[in-house]
Amino acid sequence: MKILVCIKQVIDTDRPLALSPGERWLPESGDACYRMNSYDEYALEEALLLKDCIPGVEIHALSVGPERATRVVRQALSKGADQGIHLRCDKAPLSALETAYYITHYARSQDFDLVLAGVMSEDAMQCQVGPLLAALLSLPCAVSVTAVVLADGGRITVCSELEGMLTEKIVLPLPAVVTVQSGGNIPRYPSLSNIMRAKEKTIRTIDAGDMAAAAPSEEFLPLAYPTAAIKGTILTGTRDEKAEQLLDILHGRSLL
């Protein structure tokens, strides 16, 4: 069984993000500011869990992005992926369709039984690359999945999370594309021996410039800070004073 896991390198959104005027995407930052998209960590873990219990599973970890994206591919290898692929592309932002288009090129060159991706990326938050891949590859798809179980007859059963605390159980024929939601598993840490082994593996680099690109379907205009300004009251003073003020407010509103 061959599994493709799509991984994105994202900027750590907890950090302050400084925009230059006219920027259409998040400014390029130091290496330390980037990490694996957390939803993709869950997707990778789901693939590794299948590998743990089914013999003969081969995992390809792929990332589309600039040179620095090889770091998350290496990280996937050190967690237990078998092959690492870097689709090198310096353009930013990429639309979800452009990203999906590049991945489709690679996926078509292999016979994958299952394609996994995070339900969304933490930076662009589009929730589209997975289902676009499915549409481009003409494969069935399930999104926001928290568990993948191999069923009889070349099928999988997945638990797919709906909004409002509902879960849908779906049966899909393989090959299929599944996007993984957070919380269904606990992503593992790489073992030291795997880290050492991963260092020796070669990451295959494919230049996206050599591939046909998707025709653009939207234009990205310069980014902005949210306009929603602070409307509430900022409590000021020492910590003691702030606590006193808050108690007064809560008391005044009959909440305490």
Binding site: L17, M125, Q128, S217, P226, A229, R239, A243, L255
Partner: protein, 331 residues
């Protein structure tokens, strides 16, 4: 007959999602108050009664699309059915509520018809360049402006970004045109088996007057007693959490507040170490008073908070509880 805008409503087991109606407000905003060129699309197995009631209530034209495989959400099938409807009514804008399932339908539809698909839209600008849709990126820290360059555009609209329409529409009193469509020859290889409701009990968030909620900013599971202690000071309080806290198993998912968890409207919501993703904020829109405690002065949660405390909650929460007890003992 053709329409400009198609609004795809959500049903599960033939029940209409209330929030779907927010799309009607969105379309009215785009049409400058005029929804006469807007068509509703209601999918389900047996949604005739729901559809008729909706046409009466809103006065809008509606496609009642029946398919026995639509008891549970099936984006694969839904996409095919919408495509049939689009071929007949030629809308240029197709709108969904922003759910993961609808993003799937939107993506599949976009590839099938060569349309632009823009998700999690919060607002829009209409000017001489056409429509520009605005959405959040980087967990709500920045705003992206996206302009479609295709003839047909598909959008998913963030839950809570637009309000529910008024029950009595602008006094027209006319029932909308009904179009009943069946496409029995269309089928899907994806088979939804059942929908389960989360039965995990424990957190009675919906009934609580006060919710003290933990975000990733609390740092460690060991810090939760600080929140529990604070909650114990209020007569009817519960501890809630943002999604990352539940993902890390610090609290069960029954405590989760937000689009994928619970939507609540407590008298007081105290957000401790919560940055405020759009999905989380949509779940607390109804809160009467929001107090946000965070060390990051740029935390998005501050934009919706009534009272803001920029401080380390590990020091602030125990002090607040201590001061409360001090006061209480003196009284």
């Amino acid at each position: 007959m053709t329409y400009d805008t198609l609004l795809v409503l959500d049903t599960i087991e033939d029940r209409l999602s209330t929030q779907s109606r927010e799309l009607i407000t969105f379309a009215a905003a785009i049409g400058c108050g005029d929804n006469s060129r807007t068509l509703l699309f209601l999918p389900g197995n047996n949604v005739e009664a729901v559809g008729r009631a909706l046409a009466e209530e809103t006065g809008l034209a509606i496609v009642i699309c029946r398919h026995e495989q639509l008891v549970y959400p099936n984006p694969d099938l839904l996409r095919l059915l919408i495509q049939e409807t689009m071929a007949e009514f030629a809308p240029k804008l197709v709108c969904f509520l922003h759910t993961m399932r609808n993003c799937q339908t939107a993506s599949a539809l976009a590839v099938a018809i060569g349309a632009s698909s823009i998700t999690a839209v919060e607002s829009f600008i209409a000017d001489e360049h056409g429509m520009t849709f605005q959405r959040s990126i980087a967990n709500g820290k920045l705003r992206q402006n996206v302009r479609p360059t295709t003839t047909t555009t598909i959008v998913t609209v963030l839950v809570g970004a637009f309000s529910l329409p008024d029950k009595a529409p602008s006094g027209r009193g006319l029932t909308g045109q009904l179009y009943r469509r069946n496409y029995p020859h269309i089928a899907s290889s994806c088979m939804p088996l059942e929908v389960c409701r989360e039965t995990e009990s424990g957190a009675r968030l919906e009934d609580a007057d006060v919710v003290i909620a933990a975000g990733r900013g609390i740092g460690r599971q060991e810090k939760l007693p600080l929140l529990k202690d604070l909650a114990s000071l209020f007569p009817n309080a519960a501890v809630g959490a943002s999604r990352p806290v539940c993902d890390r198993k610090w609290l069960p998912f029954s405590h989760q507040v937000g689009v994928t968890g619970k939507t609540i409207a407590p008298r007081l919501y105290m957000a401790c170490g919560i940055s405020g993703s759009p999905q989380h904020l949509a779940g607390i829109k109804g809160a009467h008073c929001i107090v946000a405690i965070n060390t990051d002065p740029h935390a998005v949660i501050f934009s919706v908070a009534d009272y803001i405390v920029i401080d380390d909650l590990n020091a602030f929460l125990p002090l607040l509880a201590h001061k409360y007890r001090e006061r209480f003992d003196h009284e």
